[in-house]
Amino acid sequence: MKIAVCVKQIPDPAEEGSLDDATKTLKREGKLILDDSDAYGVEMALQLADSAGGEVVLVSMAPNGETNGLRTALAMGAESAILVSDPALQGTDALGTAKVLAAALKTASPDLILTATESTDGYTGTVPEQIAELLEWPSVTFAKSITIDGDKVKVERQTEVGYDEVECPTPCVVSVTAGVVEPRYPSFKGIMAAKSKPLEEKTIADLGIDASQIGWEGARQEIVDVAEVPAREAGEVITDEGDAHEKIVDFLKEMKVV
């Protein structure tokens, strides 16, 4: 079983990011780290490979050849990585990203592709299904657990009220919900071993992708405006006149917590 995990390297969310005035996109000049939401997919893949036998390959794209986040995932235990790196990728939108990743995934010929449900710095949440469509593979979203059963996967798919049990033939694309497994820490030995693991860099030309499909030129979405995050408003103070409990319940209902 060969499992590919799509991972994104993003600016550290713990540090204050800034937007490029001209393009209104997030600046990504500094060091990039492994998107936290992808660590769950990596962990899930490693557990599957441990139990069913097999290997885990990472697939990622970045405009500037950054490998720091990929090294983290390799240190966790993935065997190898493919990084599509090309200056022409600057400005690529979700569909363009899916095209690049799909092409790179094809070269790895996996039996199963895992992704996060969405990235922490982009939040479009559309790339996994676009990849599946481009590969003409079935896809399952929001997995909370995956088991491999011969030539199909059984997935517990999270819903608002519980979970669905879904079966899907392989090869397929499954997106993994954040928080469903506890990602392992990269160990010291893992970090040392990661240095010598294969990390293959490819350009869009290597993948036979037409430059007009990607970057600013290929983007079919445009950021027309950005606005400051509204300041946090003061909370509502409820004075108890014998009915505070009802007001709290109403509030929680409004928040859809209960």
Binding site: N68, Y185, P186, S187, F188, K189, I191, M192, K195
Partner: protein, 589 residues
């Protein structure tokens, strides 16, 4: 948001320029690791400490370790998971020999990881620290068979280690100990006696605990010459490495301490009605004292490191608080508005007082650690000997000065927090309570000062010390240390005068006179060496292409240290050379 972020940039700066980690990693004997990968490793280790260890710090302080009815010790919530994750991640074993499953890297890199571990939970960090000491002792003095039998599981952290020296009437005076060892026909010994203040003497974080115990074999000479060192495991270990029956080792009680509440400080009983606990002699009989010093030296440096760790934690906490706390009004602020207290000059002074000394102690301790690494694997015998001498001189400084200053820093940190600092809820008081012990254990700071004056200064009749002073003098002269050279030169002169006086005291057998000035002498020498390393740091940050803001900060901390802190030590010369008359006149015995 967490109140500690690992100071990786500062740590890497000191590793690179003061400890010259790159050269250390090129020595035969150490594993190779390109310097540019060190930062990534430290970041990953730091991320681990913050995610897994830091959340256990407060609960450890409020809950503490608890002795159970069955003599086991229950650790606070989260400790078990944090320990197991630490073992899995392997951060405790990077400096040990690859032969035993370690990473083979210099101890100096281990200091950096240990600093972050200690900053996130000092009480927790003592378990790996004591294990480290036990490994060093077995590695240095154990037989090949003992090494391959005990070390792999200690190195991985699957088992932990302890040091058992102290008895009710044998604390600093180790030679007074009375625990007994009786030789058995099979070559093992039966150990009986009671030990106190045994850190992590009992717990279930690790599967087994390997106690290193000092005891007297029957008929051994009195005092330190009759002490032997034994391996006494909590569970006996079968020949195939599996755990066998429980040894006659029992935790009788836990001390209720001022700080490091989560670290179980045990009264341990070896043997009782059962004839004794099974122990295995390390090396030869009556060599225990020298063997124990192998553990003490690395442990002393480790305790010095805890001074850095807690100071860093206090600094970050105090800095954040000072930025947020609004109180008083700066003249330029509109009436009715309050200013964050960080804008008040006195609070700024307190913060810089912490920051500059924190950086200074990191320079000193990491430099000292690099010398210890050179002692092991220096290229020539000459390199190794001179590194050993200098490491010997600096170890008491690293231990005593760093922890004395850290105690003061913790106090200043509380001061910055004002009344809130005195309230446990802010969390700053915990560091003040935790770090207090560091000035006491592993040889009190007074003993460190006596060691410096009576054992280290007299090496080659003061020549080893003079070589250090000459190196500082040369550096000040040749490099552009700017106007920092004046306070350094002043301190150099005071140190030379003190050295001359102290050595004369010894040649005239006025031992008490020399020892009376030991503590101020240790402070003078510590601040001189630290001031020199700070001035060097500033010079390097200026000339080696560091970002402007970083270089300016290094200049500021170096200038503050050399101009405002170093002179307070230079002024100690009269106290160092006052002799013992005043003490005898003032204090009646």
């Amino acid at each position: 948001m967490s109140d500690y972020s690992p100071p990786v940039e500062d740590i890497v700066f000191v590793l690179r320029h003061i400890a010259d980690l790159e050269s250390l990693m090129e020595l035969d004997g150490f594993s190779q690791l390109p310097m540019d990968e060190v930062e990534g490793i430290l970041e990953e280790a730091g991320r681990f400490m913050v995610a897994e260890v830091l959340p256990t710090d407060r609960v450890g302080d409020t809950t503490g370790a608890k002795l159970q009815a069955d003599s086991s010790v229950a650790m606070p919530d989260g400790f078990d998971k944090a320990y197991k994750e630490l073992v899995k991640a392997g951060w405790g074993s990077i400096t040990f020999d690859a032969e035993w499953g370690g990473g083979g890297l210099p101890g100096t890199l281990g200091m950096a990881i240990s600093e972050m571990l200690t900053a996130t939970n000092m009480a927790f960090s003592l378990c790996p620290l004591l294990t480290h000491g036990a490994i060093n002792a077995i590695e240095a003095h154990g037989s090949e068979e003992q090494k391959s039998f005990w070390l792999p599981n200690l190195v991985s952290g699957k088992w932990s280690g302890t040091m058992n020296l102290t008895e009710p009437n044998a604390g600093s005076d180790v030679g007074a100990l009375t625990a007994k060892a009786k030789p058995e026909a099979d070559g093992t010994y039966k150990i009986t006696g009671q030990k106190i203040f045994i850190t992590y003497g009992e717990h279930e974080l690790a599967e087994n605990i390997i106690h290193l115990v000092l005891a007297r074999v029957e008929g051994a000479p009195p005092g330190t010459k009759g002490i032997s060192l034994f391996i006494v495991p909590k569970f006996l270990v079968n020949a195939d490495g599996t755990l066998g029956e429980k040894n006659a080792v029992t935790c009788l009680s836990l001390e209720e301490k001022m700080g490091i509440h989560a670290s179980p400080t045990c009264v341990m009983e070896y043997g009782n009605s059962d004839g004794g606990a099974t122990g295995y002699l390390i090396g030869e009989e009556n060599q225990g004292m020298a063997q124990m010093f192998t553990m003490m030296n690395s442990a002393r440096l480790g305790v010095g490191n805890s001074g850095i760790a807690i100071s860093e934690r206090v600094y970050q906490k105090s800095l954040n608080y000072a930025k947020e706390r609004l109180q008083g009004r700066r003249p330029e602020t509109q009436k009715g508005d309050q200013s964050p207290i960080i804008e008040h000059p006195d609070v700024k002074r307190n913060l810089l007082y912490i920051k500059s000394q924190l950086e200074a102690m990191r320079c000193l301790v990491y430099y000292n650690s690099a010398l210890v690494d050179l002692t092991r694997f220096g290229k020539t015998q000459e390199d190794r000997t001179s590194a050993d001498e200098r490491a010997g001189i600096l170890t008491p400084l690293s231990k005593a000065w760093s922890t004395d200053v850290a105690n003061e820093i913790a106090s200043v940190g509380i001061q910055i927090h004002g009344g809130a600092g005195y309230i446990e809820e802010t969390g700053i008081a915990q560091h003040y309570r935790d770090i207090r012990i560091a000035a006491i254990y592993e040889g009190t700071n007074g003993i460190q000062a006596a060691d410096l004056v009576a054992r280290k200064l007299p090496i080659r009749n003061g020549e080893a010390m003079e070589e250090l002073l000459l190196e500082i003098e040369k550096d000040v002269k040749e490099n552009k240390l700017d106007d920092l050279s004046e306070p350094i030169n002043d301190a150099l002169s005071a140190t030379r005068a003190s050295n001359k006086y102290l050595l004369e005291c010894f040649s005239e057998l006025k031992i008490d006179a020399a020892l009376s000035g030991a503590t101020p002498y240790l402070e003078l020498l510590s601040k001189l060496v630290a001031g020199w390393l700070m001035a060097k740091s500033a010079e390097i940050a200026r000339t080696e292409n560091y970002p402007k803001e970083f270089a300016e900060e290094k200049s500021a901390t170096a200038e503050f240290f050399c101009k405002q802190i170093l002179p307070t030590a230079t002024a100690l010369a009269p106290a160092i050379m006052a002799g013992d008359e005043i003490l005898n006149a003032g204090i009646n015995v």
